[in-house]
Symmetry: C2
Subunit: 224 residues, 2 copies
């Protein structure tokens, strides 16, 4: 069951008026997913738009059976699934839950109605697409002009953006970091050790601690 | 001077009604640029949105004095400059004319008004951003999972998309191809020779001819 207060908790709706939240409320369903469940797979026909109500979603692509590249981790208030509703009909990437999650589900028809009738919703959508495009362009730049160390530093900064502990700590294993960079564990493991030895980060038992944010940013260079 | 018929020739406006074209007309200026002139540079404060009226624009980024990556070539009807109006305030890339060009110039304030008041304009903007994001994600995937040969094949297909000659011919020199891939001339020159030797393309005096589109697509693989 959806109610207005649940929607108000969602960051995505914070800029919207109660009336506008009501509009979304009227057209969204809620669906629950177990940890590790696929929301959709690359190349699926895309008919729905999703907003994360609770939990954690990974957006990724696979090439062949073993190569995987994580594009983003999404949390409460983030949205996804707009790409195939606004462009090609099939999903350009896969979406999978990282933990038990609940999603607001909005049909293609209602999504288009929201865009046409609700300029605040549309502005939010535009801002997010521009932010994602910016991030993607920076990643291309970073891959071309930086080595794995710079890219790892940029990825750590990116993933830690919303952690508010001091020093910044986060739980992430080496395979996840490797997938975030679209590479394998060995070079990532080497780069982690370099950052550890130079006192920029600490890393043990799957927990990464940023010890020197300034130097991490400098290593990330333009890539951050 | 702008008139409605000039705007109607612009692909971008083809989906808009005469009334809507009039709305754009009322708020756009026109500016002329010589070949090679900078429209804006990366890190400039961004205050305007541009639509290509005539000519040819290159969008690119530079890292250090020598490294350059071309993101796109834009032609009549394409737009650019929306990124810094919808996100960070500074330009995320540079824009330069390839030949003498004319641009419709729309101020930030009028651009926001267009979005809020003209849903067709906004839908077009959303579609284009999704298309660019898709292309960027594919490029990241391609860089991670394909070698220079596959990436070159994908770039040739991308650049030739709107050529209607049979066989497809295009004028492009090796430096431009290298910048499009964000790499240097030597590996691109080697890859061109590989494609030539296998009869997939011909290339001489700055003119590239696609001889075997099917095999070119197969070499591009997922990267196209």
């Amino acid at each position: 069951m959806i109610n207005t207060s649940a929607l108000k908790q969602v960051e995505y709706f914070k800029g919207l008026s109660p009336k506008e939240i009501g509009q979304v409320l009227a057209i969204a369903g809620v669906k629950s997913y177990k940890a590790g469940e696929m929301v959709f797979a690359k190349q699926d026909l895309g008919d729905n738009f999703f907003i994360v109500k609770s939990g954690h979603i990974k957006i990724f692509t696979t090439v062949g059976p073993e190569k995987r590249k994580t594009f983003a981790f999404l949390k409460k208030g983030d949205f996804f699934g707009e790409m195939s509703l606004l462009g090609g009909k099939v999903r350009s990437a896969s979406a999978q839950t990282v933990e038990d999650s609940e999603l607001f589900v909005i049909s293609k028809k209602n999504f288009k109605r929201l865009i046409l009738e609700n300029p605040d919703f549309t502005l939010k959508l535009l801002h997010t697409l521009v932010e994602r495009l910016n991030k993607c362009n920076q990643e291309v730049e970073s891959m071309l002009f930086h080595n794995i160390l710079g890219r790892l530093a940029a990825a750590i900064l990116d993933l830690s953006k919303e952690k508010h502990t001091k020093p910044v700590k986060m739980a992430i294993n080496q395979s996840e970091l490797a997938q975030y960079l679209g590479t394998t564990r060995v070079p990532v493991c080497r780069a982690i050790n370099t950052l550890k030895r130079s006192g920029v980060i600490d890393y043990r038992r799957g927990e990464l601690i940023i010890l020197d944010q300034v130097r991490l940013k400098s290593i990330a260079g333009n890539a951050s």
